[in-house]
C-alpha cells in the first residue's frame, strides 16, 4: 500500500483503526518529498522536527483511544502566509525571509488541537499576489501533472503538494481565486469558505475584506473534514462568524443548480464548456434541477476586484517598514531611507505594482472615480448573485477560462494574468463560498476544474453535490 495515495479521510481511518502509525505516515511523506519535490517545488520549508515531536504525543493519544478529531494524526501542508509559531513564515517574499512568528494563527491552533501534524510550509505567489506561483522569491512551483505548466496560484504550492501526493491535505488562502484556481489547474479539490466562516487571525493580510483561509484536498470529502475543524467564531477576528458547518447530505434530488449564460464567454476553452454541459447532464441524472440563468455584471468583476484588492494591499503592506520585523536595508542612513530601501529591496515587482496601483486608486483626485466606484460595483455584483439565489440553491461554473498555462506565458503581461481571474474574483467580492472540484482533463491531459458557488454559509450544499458527483462517477467506474 502506498500511504501517500490515500485520501486524508482514508488515512485517518487507518490511523484510528491502528493499522497505521503516525510516524509511518510521516516517514512515507518525507520520503516522497525527498524524492519528488526537487522537481515540483511545492514546499518552501519542511517542519520535520516539529512534526515528529507532535507525532509522538498524537500517537500516544491514539493508542489510548483518544481521537481528538476526524483527521487526528493526519499531516497537513500549510501555505506560507499562515503564521506558525517559531516556524518560518515567509509569504514567499524576501521581505519576510527568516521571519519567525511569535504566535500561531487561529487555524494553526485549531489543527494542532485536532491532532493534525504540520508537514511543512508551501510555496505561493509573493504575498499571495499572482495566479501562477511564479512570483515567489524562492522560485516557481511546477504543475505535477506536467512540469512545463504552472500549478496556478497563489496557493500553488499547497495544490501541487496534494496533487503530487506530497501531502494528504493542505491549507491555502483565497482572496480572488487563490485556492480554487490552483486546485483546478492541479486536478484536486479546494474550498473558498464564506467570508467570516474561518478566522483570519494570523493570516498575513493581502486584502482583508476578501481573504479567507480554506482547505485543499484530493476530494471534496477531505475538504469538508478540514473545513469543519478550522471554521468558527474567533474573538481575535471580529469579522469571523458564529457558525458551525453542517453535514453534507447524500441526496441531492431537487437541488436547484443554475448555470449563468455569461459563464460561456468568448475566452472559455471549449473543453471546459463541454465539461460544464456534461456535468449538468450528470447532475440531472442525479435528479437535481439544472437550468440556465443570467448573472449580469461579470465583465465588471475583474476591474472591481483589482481596485479593491490593491487598495487594501497598499494599506496592509505599509506595515513592512524595515523597523519592527522583516527585511531591513543595510544601506539606509536615515529613517526615510530605511522605509524606501527596505521596501524596494524586499518586495518583488508584482507586489510593488499592486501597492502603487492601490496608492493610485486611493489618492486624492482619483478616490471617487476608482475606489468608491469599485465599492459601488461590489454591491451591484453581490446583488446579482443574491438575485440568482432567489431561484437557485447554487450555481455551477468554470474556475478559470483555460486549463493551466505554460510557465512564463503570463508573467510578462500582468493584465493578461488578472483577466484569467474572471470566474473567481466576483465570489470573493460577494463573500460567497465556492468549491472547486476536478472534472476530467483537456486534450493535453491538463486537469479541468469546475466550481459550485453557494449561498452564504451554504458550504454543506456544495459538498453534497460534489460528493454525489464523485460517488456517481465511482459507480460508473
Amino acid at each position: 500500500m502506498d500511504i501517500t495515495q490515500l485520501t486524508a479521510c482514508a488515512l485517518a481511518k487507518k490511523l484510528h483503526g491502528g493499522s497505521l502509525r503516525v510516524t509511518d505516515v510521516l516517514d512515507a511523506y518525507y520520503a516522497a518529498i525527498d524524492e519528488k519535490d526537487g522537481a515540483v517545488g511545492a514546499y518552501i520549508a519542511l517542519t520535520k522536527e516539529f512534526a515528529y515531536k507532535s507525532a509522538k504525543a498524537v500517537q500516544a493519544r491514539l493508542d489510548t483511544g483518544e481521537i481528538r478529531s476526524p483527521l487526528a494524526g493526519v499531516p497537513v501542508a500549510v501555505k506560507d502566509l499562515i503564521c506558525t509559531k517559531n516556524l518560518p513564515t515567509t509569504c514567499a517574499s524576501k521581505m519576510l525571509d527568516g521571519f519567525l512568528p511569535p504566535y500561531n494563527a487561529t487555524v494553526i491552533e485549531k489543527i494542532l488541537a485536532a491532532d493534525m501534524i504540520i508537514l511543512g510550509k508551501t510555496n505561493m505567489d509573493e504575498f499571495a499576489m499572482g495566479s501562477t506561483t511564479e512570483t515567489s522569491y524562492f522560485g516557481a512551483t511546477k504543475n505535477p501533472v506536467n512540469p512545463e505548466h504552472v500549478p496556478g496560484g497563489s496557493s500553488g504550492g499547497s495544490a501541487a503538494a496534494v496533487a503530487a501526493c506530497l501531502a494528504p491535505i493542505a491549507l491555502g488562502s483565497d482572496t480572488g481565486g487563490s485556492i480554487r484556481q490552483p486546485a483546478a489547474y492541479c486536478g484536486v479539490a479546494g474550498l473558498k469558505p464564506t467570508y467570516g466562516a474561518v478566522s483570519r487571525y494570523g493570516l498575513i493580510a493581502y486584502a482583508s475584506s476578501l481573504d479567507q483561509i480554506g482547505p485543499i484536498g484530493k476530494t471534496a470529502e477531505d475538504c469538508a473534514a478540514l473545513f469543519a475543524i478550522i471554521a468558527g467564531k474567533d474573538e481575535r477576528d471580529s469579522t469571523s462568524m458564529d457558525y458551525v458547518p453542517q453535514a453534507a447530505s447524500a441526496d441531492i434530488a431537487g437541488k436547484k443548480i443554475g448555470i449563468p449564460n455569461e459563464f460561456f464567454g468568448d475566452g472559455l476553452q471549449p473543453e471546459i464548456a463541454l465539461a460544464m454541459r456534461q456535468t449538468a447532464d450528470e447532475l440531472r441524472r442525479l435528479d437535481a434541477v439544472v437550468a440556465p440563468c443570467s448573472l449580469p455584471l461579470i465583465d465588471y468583476a475583474v476591474p472591481t476586484y483589482y481596485i479593491i484588492a490593491c487598495a487594501e494591499a497598499a494599506s496592509n503592506l505599509s506595515r513592512y517598514d524595515g523597523i519592527k520585523y522583516g527585511h531591513s536595508s543595510k544601506e539606509a542612513a536615515s529613517l526615510r531611507e530605511t522605509y524606501f530601501k527596505s521596501r524596494s529591496e524586499g518586495f518583488g515587482m508584482e507586489v510593488k505594482r499592486r501597492i502603487m496601483l492601490g496608492n493610485f486608486v486611493l489618492s486624492s483626485g482619483y478616490y471617487d472615480a476608482y475606489y468608491k466606484k469599485a465599492l459601488q460595483a461590489k454591491r451591484l455584483i453581490q446583488q446579482a448573485y443574491f438575485a440568482a439565489f432567489e431561484q437557485f440553491d447554487m450555481l455551477l461554473g468554470p474556475v478559470a477560462p483555460t486549463t493551466a498555462p505554460k510557465i512564463g506565458a503570463s508573467l510578462d503581461d500582468p493584465l493578461k494574468m488578472y483577466l484569467s481571474d474572471i470566474y473567481t474574483v466576483a465570489i470573493n467580492l460577494a463573500g460567497l463560498p465556492a468549491l472547486a472540484f476536478p472534472r476530467g482533463a483537456d486534450g493535453g491531459h491538463m486537469p479541468i476544474g469546475l466550481q459550485l458557488i453557494g449561498k452564504p454559509f451554504g458550504e454543506h450544499d456544495l459538498f453534497s453535490v460534489a460528493n454525489a458527483l464523485a460517488a456517481h462517477e465511482g459507480l460508473l467506474g
Binding site: D321, S328, K352, A377, R379, A430
Partner: protein
C-alpha cells in the same frame, strides 16, 4: 487616464518604494494598460448605489475592558532588525 513619469514618481513616493530606471519604464507601461482597463467601470451606472465595504453587515466588536495576557517583550523583539534595552532601535526621528 494618462500615466506619465511624474505620476509614477508620485506613486513611488506614496508607496515608499524607489523603482530602478528599468523597473520604472515597465511599470509606467503596465500601469497605463491596467488603469485603462479599470476605466471600463465608467460604463457601469452606479448612481445612488451605496458603496459596499464589507460583504456582510458587521459592527465594531469591543472586548471587555479587562487586563489580558501580553506577549513577552523578548519574543516580540525576536524579529526586530535592531533592538536595544528591550526596545526597537530606529534612526533619530527629530533633530
Amino acid at each position: 487616464m494618462q500615466i506619465d513619469a511624474n505620476l509614477v514618481h508620485y506613486l513611488e513616493s506614496l508607496a515608499r518604494i524607489s523603482l530602478s530606471e528599468s523597473e520604472r519604464a515597465g511599470c509606467q507601461a503596465d500601469l497605463q494598460r491596467i488603469i485603462a482597463y479599470f476605466d471600463q467601470l465608467d460604463t457601469l451606472d452606479t448612481a445612488g448605489v451605496i458603496p459596499l465595504s464589507h460583504a456582510f453587515p458587521v459592527k465594531n466588536v469591543l472586548r471587555d475592558d479587562a487586563v489580558g495576557q501580553s506577549m513577552p517583550v523578548g519574543e516580540l523583539l525576536m524579529n526586530a532588525p535592531r533592538e536595544q534595552d528591550g526596545c526597537i532601535k530606529v534612526f533619530r526621528t527629530v533633530d
